[in-house]
Every structure is written in C-alpha cells, then in structure tokens.
Symmetry: C2
Subunit: 247 residues, 2 copies
Amino acid sequence: MLNNVRVILSHTSHPGNIGAAARAMKTMGLSRLYLINPRFFPDAQAAAMAAGADDILAKAVVCATLDEALQGAVFVAGMSARVRDISQEVLAPREAMPLVMQQAQQPVALLFGTEMSGLTNDELARCQLMVRIPVNPDFSSLNLAAAVQLVSYELRLAAGQGDCGAPEVNPASAEHVEGFFRQLEETLVEIEFLNGKHPTKLMHKLRRLYARARLEPEEVNILRGILTLTTQYHGQLKRDVSNVQSD
Amino acid sequence: MLNNVRVILSHTSHPGNIGAAARAMKTMGLSRLYLINPRFFPDAQAAAMAAGADDILAKAVVCATLDEALQGAVFVAGMSARVRDISQEVLAPREAMPLVMQQAQQPVALLFGTEMSGLTNDELARCQLMVRIPVNPDFSSLNLAAAVQLVSYELRLAAGQGDCGAPEVNPASAEHVEGFFRQLEETLVEIEFLNGKHPTKLMHKLRRLYARARLEPEEVNILRGILTLTTQYHGQLKRDVSNVQSD
C-alpha cells in the first residue's frame, strides 16, 4: 500500500532538501518521489543528502505541471504550514494519514509546497484534505525534509508497520519469582536485616521494586545465585570462626 | 514540562546535525541541548542548519562526560537504532514518550549516540528505557536530526500539545441543509433531470455526496444561490420564448 503513495515536492529551491526528503521517505518505506519544476535537479547536493536513497532520486519523476504530477491519483493531501483562510478540512498527521491509507488501494499523493511559501492557492484547490503538523507556535520553521520525515513516519504507522522490532520480553513465571522472594526473605532474616520488627512491610517494599522491574527468568536466576553465595559465604565464615574457637 | 526535557547528543561528528537537531527541537517546543564531546562545536555549519534556532545552540551545554550531561536527570531514555542484545525495555516513540512525560516534573534526558554507531554499551547501561523508531528494515539509515525531529514530535504530542491549529469546522444545521435539498429536488424536477422514474434513489445519492462533504452554512447559501439563479434564468428564458411566440 505504501507503494501507492507518491510524495510530490513543488518548486523546491534547495536540492539538499530533495535528497534529504528521499532519505526520509526511504527510511519509512516510501519510494515514489515526484518533483514539479525543481530549481536544481539532478544535483550533487541532492545525491549527497540522499545518503543511500539514491535509487529514489534516480527514479524520481520530474514534472512540468501539477496536473502531470497528480495524474492517476485518486486522493491528494496537501501540507499546510500556515494557518490560512482555507475551506478544506485541516487535520494533524495522526488523524490524516489513516485517511490517506484508506484511499491507498489506488495512487494517492502527498503534496508539499516550496520551502519559503508552501502551497499556492491553485495547489491548495486540488487537495481533498489539508494536513498541518503541530508545531511550536513561536517557531514553526519546520524544514521541508523534516516535514516529509514526520508525515512519512505517520504514514508508516497508519499502514500498520509501526513495529519497532523490540525484543520479546520474557517475563519470569509467578512461582519462579516467589521462589526468589522466599529465598530473599530467608537470607534477610539470616543476616538480621529482617529482625522480626517489620518484616512484612519491608518485604512488600522489595516486592514492589521487583514487580516494577518485571523480572525475567535469567534475572531471577542471577539474584538467587547472589543469595545462595551470600549464604554459603556466611556458612564458610561461621565454620572458620568455630574452627578458630575450637583451636 | 517540555522545559524539563534535555536532548543529549553524544560525540556528534557532523556539526550540521547539531544545528538541524536544534531546529527540530525548537519546532516542537524543546530547548535544552546537551553535547558530549562534539567533534566540532561551535561551528558555522551548525549555525547555518539551525536556521533560527541559534538561541538553542547559544545555550547548549557542552560536557566532557556522560555523567556531566546526566547530572540531575531522574529518567534517561536512550535511542537505539539497531536491534541488539540489550536487556533494557525497548519501546516505539509513541509508547515511550508518554512515559518520559510522566517523569518530566523533574529533569529527564533523551540520549542520542553518534551518527555512525549509536550509543556505546556504557551509555546504554545508563538508560532506564530504550526507544526505537520503527523504520523500513531494508533502509534504516535515519539521519540523527531526523530522529531528534521524530522523537521531539512524539514528545510534543505526549505533552498534549498536538493541536495543529486547524480552523473550527462550522457545520450547517439540519434544517438549513434540508432547505437546500428541497430546493435542489424542486430544481431537478423543473429541469426534468428528475422525471419521476427514480427520484428518491437519485436524491439519496445526492444526499450521500453532500453528507460526506459536511456542508458549512456559507456553502449551503452558495448552492442555494446557484439553484435560485438557475430557476430565475429559466423563468427569464420562458418569458422570452413566450414573448417571441406572442409576436
């Protein structure tokens, strides 16, 4: 579905932005770049900023007109940086990109205006939906490629590809953790940290800490190993002491 | 609360990335930049890429060590680009940034590693939480400033500042819209577009179209004005015809 999404950059001034936009697109799985009358393209700076996304630059479609760039697209979302008197619906990317993906069984377009002035009124009139990225009202100067990055990211998430590949968390079983708590309490009694005054209260505090940490099986084993060796070491010391006393 | 969030860039190679990161931060309302041993800083390229966020560069805290950069921080989230054998919890920004904001009553830190190799193991060990941006597995080469942009954006949204300033939609009232549909039907009967065969079916299709468009009061007035003038024009033509016939 992301293959049906084209990113259209209109009248881009800085070729570096074209390259950085291509890189941003590729990191999020987009590949179709259309350029309406770019000031400089192809360009060495665009290639440098693409940093490995040069395949996207190589197959970028350079168009003379907006009509050409929109050919075949069934849905057009325009990026609007400024608040203006426009009648189109304006949504934040989080709300807008799921709507774009709904249409992306067929070609859809994301239309970005120039760095300086955004979309023209004629371009705005061709959009079914306006998208505005929420920004700091005191500094709304979002770079063009940064805007492409944010919108492509939201599109990837809307396409259901927001898995960050986090490792599977492997939680320890309740009985495994209980075994650790029993051993911990025994050890704490043995070293007289728990002296019978507030054992339950202290054990609850320790339970709370380890509950928050969501122990994994290997971690339970490490902690129990520490307790076992603590007890063994104490046993050894006691034997040494009794040997000395019996001498 | 965003004022309690510091962005720490560790051992950054390219000063342009420092400037672009400052710009990215500022667009999302972040302001506290910490730099651990940057290769070049201050630097003209950093200033150029900051594009108006030079106040953030001017008050950036340059540190010699990670300890210095983390001083006072109660929570540290590290950015991990690669899948590695780490024991920390790894979350996507959308899940992670609300957790960061929960801690941001006090200073919290977002820790970014170098462009080439990310965080070191020693840096990883200082993080309570790892954050990984979901990317195209075939091209995960996210620029450092782009990563700062995405995470800052998610942080802004998590801080409840995700309003994009969309204009208030002002929907037309049901009776206003019904008046339009009545007039539309009358006009369509008059011009014999509705000829009594399937008037209900056709009107339902037109209702569906205009329902989807969620008409505003001004739009209802424009559409009714068109219908009124259509009828008047027809009336004029009919009078002209009858005048000709009576001649």
